[in-house]
């Protein structure tokens, strides 16, 4: 497998058996796309063949999602062209792309929560069984069941989406594509929400689809996955194509080097245990927290965090990490159990109580929860501290002192912003995170709960955030890092807790934990 054959319209049409055809299914050439303030794609070109699993590899912000959004008709490119099976195409809307046989499974699912699986699968399908006006539920459910069976995607066609687990929801997304007889399937960071075992199952589904002659475009920033599933890999960096390589012959290091632009060492997990005083900053005992659907999202969880210790909470999203973080930070009231910060019990359910007790919280939803997006950086910097005597004069605000406090955070934590009055939403992901972290650090907390600290950040920002977190731990702050990124957890944590279905499935010393073992615990397996 290597370069594509020159385009010849007759030969490139149709799907042939895997390996036998080098025909290009998708060819994107010279694609450029601009958004206000950012050049997302800069003269990007790549091509994927029939019957191939082709990976688009790049860091966050490299332009992979934008490129795929252009391919699916959601965005229109400013320059460049797209060819499908040798024919140039121009999409004006997602409908055009869908009609052409291109389906995408997004990172954030495009499902309608109150609808059933069957309703979601058939939504917007205008080839519809002889263009019927009425929705024939039985027929659709039967077809969905058929497809589930054939491709190993078990899911109940009648279930409502909100009742399904994230992994099951992803299967619905794939079923949507299969129902529409998609020829080209794009998977955008699909394993972010799966356990390692579920990911393997997904890869075999994708392989099966490719073997049938479909084309799978696999977008990821995870090197080992890309090597595991893809035939060829196109690496993107900072909006440009770097190179297209063969997955089998490339190594993890060579791929990483292409992705980042420099020779990188793999992140090494902490080998030596740090020496920590046996003083407990946070004690959680028998904590049970009810989730949005009335289920016990956190189920009788107990653990401690010492002063200066970094505890990593690993687990696939949706196993109670968010509810645990919310309980500790006061945003959610626990049903039972106790939370003690530096020995003092807090009642829970009141963010102000938690803040005054010394709990800082960096939420995973930065711009939705941690910041007020339209307000200035200054306002956001003092959003928790404006009531302090140092920043207010009685009922009145002390504007200059607020601004000084904000400037301190901006300079100390390298938050790049045109001015302190810029609305928070204008900042890039990395700077937003630095702002939130800086704000939380400046308050000198005793306990710091950080959820998904580096999601969506580029490599430079990730390193910075990790440095800041380690710095806080050095100062004696008890840090809890919840992350789906196992490499991050292994790089930061002194101790690792794995959460599965609301309970602590296992606790491991940092140096002693292997990815396989953690993955097993994440999936509900027992430790060997």
């Amino acid at each position: 497998m290597g370069d594509s054959t020159p385009a010849n319209t007759e030969e490139t049409r149709g799907a042939g058996p895997a390996g036998a055809s080098l025909a290009a299914a998708v060819r994107m050439h010279g694609i450029t796309k601009r958004f206000p303030g950012v050049l997302a794609n800069d003269d990007v070109s790549f091509e994927a063949s029939v019957g191939e699993v082709h990976a688009l590899l790049g860091e966050n912000g490299a332009g992979k999602t934008t490129l795929s959004n252009i391919l699916t008709g959601l965005y229109r490119q400013d320059e460049g062209d797209v060819e499908l099976y040798g024919e140039p195409v121009r999409f004006h809307s997602p409908r055009d792309a869908l009609d052409a046989g291109i389906c995408m499974v997004h990172q954030h699912f495009r499902l309608v929560s109150p609808f059933s699986v069957a309703e979601n699968v058939v939504l917007g399908d205008h080839r519809a069984e002889g263009r019927s006006f009425f929705v024939r539920e039985r027929t659709i459910e039967r077809r969905v069941a058929e497809l589930s069976e054939r491709y190993g995607l078990a899911v109940d066609p009648r279930a409502r989406i909100w009742q399904l687990s994230v992994g099951e929801q992803q299967r619905v997304e794939i079923l949507k594509a299969l129902y529409r007889e998609a020829r080209i399937l794009i998977m955008d960071e699909p394993t972010a929400v799966l356990t390692p075992q579920e990911a393997v199952a997904l890869f075999s589904t994708l392989r099966a689809m490719a073997d049938e002659g479909k084309t799978v475009i696999f977008i990821s920033h995870k090197l080992n996955e890309v090597k595991a599933v893809a035939d060829r890999v196109t690496v993107l960096r900072a909006g440009r194509t770097v190179e297209t390589v063969d997955a089998e012959t490339a190594t993890l290091r060579s791929l990483a080097a292409l992705m980042v632009g420099r020779d990188v060492q793999e992140a090494r997990p902490l080998e030596e245990a740090r020496h920590l005083a046996d003083v407990y900053a946070l004690e959680i005992e028998g904590l049970t927290v009810v989730g949005d659907r009335g289920e016990a999202a956190v189920d009788d969880v107990s653990f401690v965090v010492r002063e200066g210790e970094i505890v990593g909470v690993a687990g696939v999203a949706g196993n109670g990490q968010r509810e645990l973080a919310e309980a500790i930070s006061g945003m959610r009231s626990p049903r039972s159990g106790s939370i003690r910060v530096a020995g003092r019990a807090i009642e829970g359910g009141d963010p102000r109580e938690a803040i005054l007790a010394g709990v800082a919280h960096v939420p995973e939803d930065r711009l939705g929860t941690g910041l007020a997006p339209s307000l200035s950086v200054t306002s956001n910097a003092v959003i928790k501290t404006y009531r302090r005597r140092s920043l207010s004069r009685g009922p009145l605000l002390a504007l200059r002192r607020m601004r000084d406090a904000a400037l301190r955070i901006i300079t100390r934590y390298d938050v790049k912003t045109p001015s302190p009055e810029t609305p928070a939403r204008n900042l890039s992901g990395g700077n937003l995170q630095k702002l939130v972290l800086g704000r939380e650090f400046e308050d000198e907390p005793l306990v710091l709960v950080v959820a998904q600290p580096t999601r969506g950040l580029d490599v430079g920002a990730i390193e910075t955030v990790h440095t800041y977190l380690r710095g806080e731990a050095e100062k004696g702050v008890a840090v809890i890092v919840m992350s789906e990124d196992l490499d991050e957890i292994r790089a930061l944590a002194d101790r690792i807790l794995v959460m599965y279905e609301g309970a602590v499935a296992g606790e491991l010393r940092a140096g002693a934990a292997s990815i396989e073992e953690i993955g097993l615990l994440m999936a509900g397996g027992e430790r060997s």
């Binding site: 997602p94 409908r95 929705v135």
Partner: protein
């Protein structure tokens, strides 16, 4: 005679007075299902009432010929003013609440309805045509159900058909599925190739049309006649908006709610006619108080239910927002 009893009279009137509420709430239901809140219902009803009445004055012919045309005219006028709201909120993504209120002021009793009505001197004209009751299958005198179900006007019967159609549309058809998706998750609908803007425009216009017809119920059936100002419709548009909420955005329940409120507003007159004295203002205020009570009950319950407001209600949709 049992058919003259207070109960039967109130129920009959409940259906009558509930009919404009039903039309208007079905229309608002459609708009809200697509994710757009239209607070201009009162204004659209007033304008529709005026235009419908005017049509009966201007067109010559028998009742059977003129009245449908008048209803059509009322519907078109409601849709026309709804177009303003649609353009502002869907294409320009302006605040749906402010735009709806502006629409009520613009089209309402101190606005376009009055302007138009006075230009054509509507208030001076007696009703040329009005909807009369149809004695269906001669069953109008049957005990109890006769007057209530079989002796109503065509507008009432049409509203029953409409309720059925809307319920079927939303629940069983492909287009209904699409519009519900637009209201719940416009980004998902968009990604599935559904034209969010188009669906929203269509349903907002339908909402306007139904509101216009609802207004015509007053000038062509209930009053009949036309006066300037707000008193012709007297707040029914606002009740219709509330009706959608406690019908859980379901057409069948709109019917139940509309008749409930129709009954409440008919009660004062009926009681008077039967020499039961209750302070009129108390009875007049009752529908509004009831609306609040039911709304509170619905609000606390629906936080727990997964059936409720379309998730994107009130929020403009923009595809390329980063």
């Amino acid at each position: 005679m049992i058919n003259d009893s207070l109960l039967v009279v109130v129920l009959t009137q409940a259906v009558l007075y509930g009919t404009p509420l039903l039309y208007a709430s079905l229309g608002e239901l459609l708009a809200e299902r697509s994710g757009v809140l239209n607070l201009g219902v009162e204004g659209m009803m007033l304008f529709g009432a005026a235009v419908g009445y005017w049509a009966t004055q201007r067109v010559d012919g028998s009742d059977a010929a003129v009245l449908p045309l008048a209803v059509l005219a009322a519907g078109l006028s409601g849709a026309a003013v709804a177009l303003i709201h649609a353009f502002l909120t869907i294409t320009l993504r302006a605040s749906q609440i402010v735009s709806g209120l502006a629409l009520t002021i613009f089209a309402g009793g101190l606005g376009l309805a009055a302007y138009f009505g006075n230009e054509v001197h509507l208030a001076d004209l007696p009703a040329a045509h009005q909807f009369k009751n149809l004695d269906v299958l001669g069953l109008g005198d049957v005990a109890v159900v006769g007057p209530i179900l079989f002796d109503q006007s065509a507008l009432v019967y049409a509203s029953w058909v409409l309720t059925l159609l809307v319920a079927l549309y939303l629940g069983r058809t492909r287009w209904g599925l699409n519009v519900r998706a637009v209201g719940e998750a416009p980004a998902s609908a968009d990604a599935m190739g559904i034209n969010v803007s188009l669906y929203r425009y269509v349903h907002v216009l339908l909402g306007g049309a139904f509101a216009g017809v609802g207004g015509a119920c007053y000038s062509l059936l209930i009053a009949p006649g036309w006066v300037a100002g707000d008193t012709l419709v007297n707040g029914a548009g606002w009740i219709a908006i509330a009706l959608v909420i406690f019908a859980f955005w379901r057409a069948e329940l709109c019917l139940v709610g509309a008749y409930l409120f129709g009954g409440l507003s008919a009660l004062p007159f009926a009681l008077q006619a039967h020499d039961v004295t209750v302070t009129p203002e108390f009875l007049n205020a009752l529908p509004y108080v009831m609306t609040i009570v039911v709304l509170v009950l619905v609000s606390t319950a629906f936080a727990r239910r997964r059936l409720g407001a379309p998730a994107s209600l009130g929020i403009p949709y923009a595809r390329e927002e980063r």
